[in-house]
């Protein structure tokens, strides 16, 4: 049981490492859908 729990947690850890970063998400967007940096700044400020 403990081994199964450790393996489950290791799976989450691996998922966090390979999870898409913000840069990859932005690159995956179509140019029309991707917010320009200036828009991001205005939205987040």
């Amino acid at each position: 049981m403990v081994i199964a729990a450790l393996v489950t947690f290791a799976g989450l850890l691996a998922a966090w490492i390979v999870a898409p970063s913000a840069e990859r998400r932005a690159a995956a967007r179509t140019p029309s859908a991707a917010p320009a940096p200036a828009e991001l700044v205005a939205e987040g400020a």
Binding site: M1, V2, L6, L13, W16, A22, L40, G44, A45
Partner: protein, 410 residues
């Protein structure tokens, strides 16, 4: 034969819940201090750790920190991996009147808040993914060993006679020093003209400070591990030190800057709570007044020095937790008395000046170990995932860039 006491068990369980509330309280305390574009990310760093360290503590953290000694008082063995053998029966070693699982849960809440404290120093520019990896490594490689040194009866600092009632060295000094190292490692925030930014929501920070103060009764009075006179002493000294530090900090800032700062009251209270943590169950209420006043002066000075430096410890974690933790550990060596707690030791004023030397040794060793290992962890994590976000993301704010959410609708 250890026997469960209902009153002690109830107190330790409710104290665990009180300490748990401190981490969301810390999230609000830090969340109010940052700019509005980073409030969610700042809150998330504490809230996610509540989940993350809860799991790692059950899997391996508790065993490393409190398990049977692996040798030399340096670290626990993995006998209790996944809490195997940790049951509802009392432990032979810890808190003999409460279930072992209750003691474990109480300690878990300490393990959770400690890495969350560090998050304030490199706020507003760190990548969430990198922080998650950092938190797992730090709680395993820094927190667990130091907890073993100080709080396991076989720990080498405990064996020397070092006093730390509720975590002045284990929690606050270790995280404060790590925060300083993290701030130096990641560098200053982009476009920071002045040494500090204006808090976006002071009421949120004051609410967070209030929750921290409330939860700290569990942190310190709960560390008596029983519903008894030491718990009552720790409760009173905790409240008194926080109160004295709050009003002293406000007074200093009033004299220095011309206004009685609300933010100063909140930060001063937290500094007082930090400093009384190692001393709470070992000193008298009168001593806690002196500790509260002293830490307010010292931490206020440290925060002013930080403002004049080029170190961008964004939320002054080192000035409050590092300096306050060290001050409290030293003050414990001065004011501790067995008249308050027969299980403790006398300090300088009780005719035992050597206790001050022991406390200084603990401060030096914990600071050095935390600084060194934290730097190593940051270096390795940075190789796997860059810790700092790109310039455009920092400009946009981490809420939107890292989490795809904003705190406040336009």
């Amino acid at each position: 034969m250890a026997t469960i006491n209902a009153g002690d068990t109830a107190w330790v369980l409710i104290s665990s819940a009180l300490v748990m509330l401190m981490t969301p309280g810390l999230a609000l305390f830090y969340g109010g201090l940052v700019r509005r574009k980073n409030v969610l990310s700042t809150i998330m760093h504490s809230f996610f750790i509540l989940g993350l360290v809860s799991v790692t503590w059950v899997l391996w953290g508790y065993s490393l920190a409190f398990g049977p000694d692996a040798g030399g008082g340096l670290i626990g063995r993995l006998d209790w991996l996944g809490l195997e053998g940790v049951t509802g029966a009392p432990s032979d070693t810890y808190a003999p009147t409460v279930p072992h699982l209750a003691f474990m849960a109480f300690q878990m809440m300490f393990a959770i808040i400690t890495p969350a404290l560090i998050s304030g120093s490199f706020a507003e520019r760190k990548r969430f993914k990198a922080f998650v990896l950092f938190a797992v490594a730090w709680s395993t490689l820094v927190y667990a060993p130091i907890a073993h040194w100080v709080w396991s009866p076989h720990g080498w600092l405990a064996g020397l006679g070092v006093l730390d009632f509720a975590g002045g060295t284990v929690v606050h000094l270790s995280s404060g020093v790590a925060a300083l190292v993290a701030a130096l490692f990641i560098g200053r925030r982009t476009g920071l003209i002045e040494a500090a930014t204006e808090p976006h929501d002071v009421p949120m920070t004051v609410l967070g400070a209030g929750l921290l103060w409330f939860g700290w009764f569990g942190f310190n009075a709960g560390s008596a591990l029983g519903a008894n006179g030491v718990a009552a002493t720790a409760f009173v000294t905790t409240n008194t030190a926080a109160a004295m530090a709050a009003i002293t900090w406000v007074t200093i800032s009033w004299l220095h800057r011309g206004t009685p700062s609300v933010l100063g009251a909140a930060i001063g209270a937290v500094a007082g709570l930090v400093a009384i943590t190692p001393a709470a169950g070992f000193v008298t209420p009168a001593a806690s007044i002196l500790i509260g006043a002293g830490v307010a002066i010292v931490c206020y000075g440290a925060s002013q020095l930080r403002l004049r430096s080029h170190i961008d410890d964004a939320l002054d974690v080192f000035a409050v937790h590092g300096v306050g933790g060290a001050f409290g550990a030293l003050a414990t060596g001065v004011f501790a008395t067995v008249a308050v707690n027969a299980a403790g030791r006398d300090g300088l004023l009780g005719g035992a000046p050597f206790q001050v030397i022991l406390q200084l040794v603990a401060i030096g060793v914990v600071a050095l170990y935390s600084a060194t290992v934290t730097a190593g962890i940051l270096f390795v994590v940075n190789l796997i995932v860059p810790i700092r976000v790109p310039h455009a993301e920092e400009e946009a704010g981490l809420d939107l860039a890292q989490h795809g959410e904003i705190a406040y609708q336009p």
